[in-house]
């Protein structure tokens, strides 16, 4: 299995964040050890969350060396971590408004009569130019939530892995790749025989 990306764009092996457990033969699920304070541990006495991932005392997911992999705020309420692979597709354009940038690379935005930031098309955006809803969640062009507000930086920026070119966009280029593969499959086989070769 490929190593995954964390939100900072670093790679990690899924096995390095998993605790070691016995399995309940009836349910097939891992057997967490739990103390009186409700903290969970694995077979090696390491702190884990309810899903079995190694955590520090703040609830951040860590690897076997104690290095932080996911901040607690990035981990779901059930303790599950994001799964971002090198083949995960993401297109920044789907969440970015239309605007010019200043020399420092900051979006030049206007405000609507309610004082909310908008892009050139009048669509609501946050301070970084991403489409957003009333609650500050980042939405895509179709209005669906792409990133919950809680995982954004204080200035409304999305996690680094999504804006540093590490992930390929599912753009026309990807569709072209699929189309080319299909064309290659449907090409009639070239008939090669000695007569043809001798003619050149």
């Amino acid at each position: 299995m490929h190593r995954l990306f964390n939100y900072a764009g670093s790679r990690f092996d899924i096995n390095d964040v998993c605790g070691v457990f016995d399995f309940d033969r009836n349910t097939g699920l891992i057997k967490l050890k739990t103390n009186k304070q409700g903290q969970h541990f694995d077979n090696l006495g390491r702190l884990v969350n309810a899903r079995g991932y190694l955590v520090d005392f703040q609830g951040n997911v860590v690897d076997v060396k104690g290095k932080r992999v996911f901040e607690k705020k990035y981990v779901g309420a059930n303790g599950e971590i994001p799964k971002i692979f090198p083949f995960t597709k993401f297109n920044l354009k789907n969440i970015l408004g239309e605007f010019e940038m200043d020399p420092l690379g900051n979006p030049i935005l206007e405000k609507n009569p309610e004082g909310q930031l908008i892009d050139r098309d009048g669509k609501r955006v946050n301070g970084r130019g991403y489409f957003c809803d009333q609650q500050g969640n980042i939405i895509d062009k179709r209005g669906k939530i792409m990133f919950d507000k809680q995982i954004l930086d204080p200035d409304g920026e999305i996690p680094e892995v999504f804006r540093t070119g590490l992930l390929k966009s599912d753009s026309a280029a990807s569709s072209l790749s699929r189309l080319m593969s299909e064309i290659e499959r449907n090409q009639p086989e070239e008939v090669y025989n000695n007569d043809n070769r001798n003619q050149t």
Partner: protein, 169 residues
């Protein structure tokens, strides 16, 4: 895969409708059955009417996602329940956010073989059955890294639900 193991409401085979907070949606829940090319792209098939279908003849969209032929909604491949409304699918057949981004969810603990760990190398001790296939302590097929696999070599969970195609590894 494990006799007697049944899905529960808390832990269903497929989360219907999908719930992004649970991070258990995997695109294989809605993908038809396909062969893949060397680049890992699915090989779509067509019926006599030019509709996209999978290897079993099920109707799919251009992405290979199973669709209800009457409504165009995307359905899951277990009980054929609706997962996404047709209106929420984009013009390239892609599912809505955030699922289009988080579509490779899996629970690693449900996909590992039951294997002892070598104390020296810290690696799983993989066994072999009489046919020479790699297996875990319960005789289930595993790959060289200890992940449960089906007979086609795709990674599955302990209920046999496909999570990764072998071409994605």
């Amino acid at each position: 895969m494990i006799p007697g193991i049944k899905p529960t409401e808390e832990d269903p085979i497929v989360q219907v409708p999908p719930d992004s907070n649970k991070r258990n949606f995997n695109e294989h829940d809605i993908l038809g059955e396909f062969d893949r090319d060397e680049k890992g792209n699915i090989i779509l098939l067509q019926d006599n009417d030019g509709n996209c279908i999978d290897k079993k003849g099920n109707r799919v969209n251009e992405r290979g996602y199973l669709i209800d032929p009457n409504t165009g909604d995307i359905i899951e491949n277990h009980d054929k329940q609706k997962m996404f409304d047709k209106e929420d699918i984009d013009d390239r057949g892609e599912i809505p956010a955030p699922y289009c981004l988080e579509k490779y969810n899996f629970n690693p603990f449900k996909m590992r073989g039951d294997l002892d760990i070598d104390r020296t190398t810290k690696k799983p001790i993989i066994l072999k059955n009489k046919s020479g296939q790699l297996v875990d302590k319960q005789g289930r097929l595993v790959n060289s890294k200890g992940w449960l696999i089906n007979k086609e070599g795709h990674i599955v969970d302990f209920m046999g639900v496909k999570k990764f195609d072998k071409k994605q590894l």
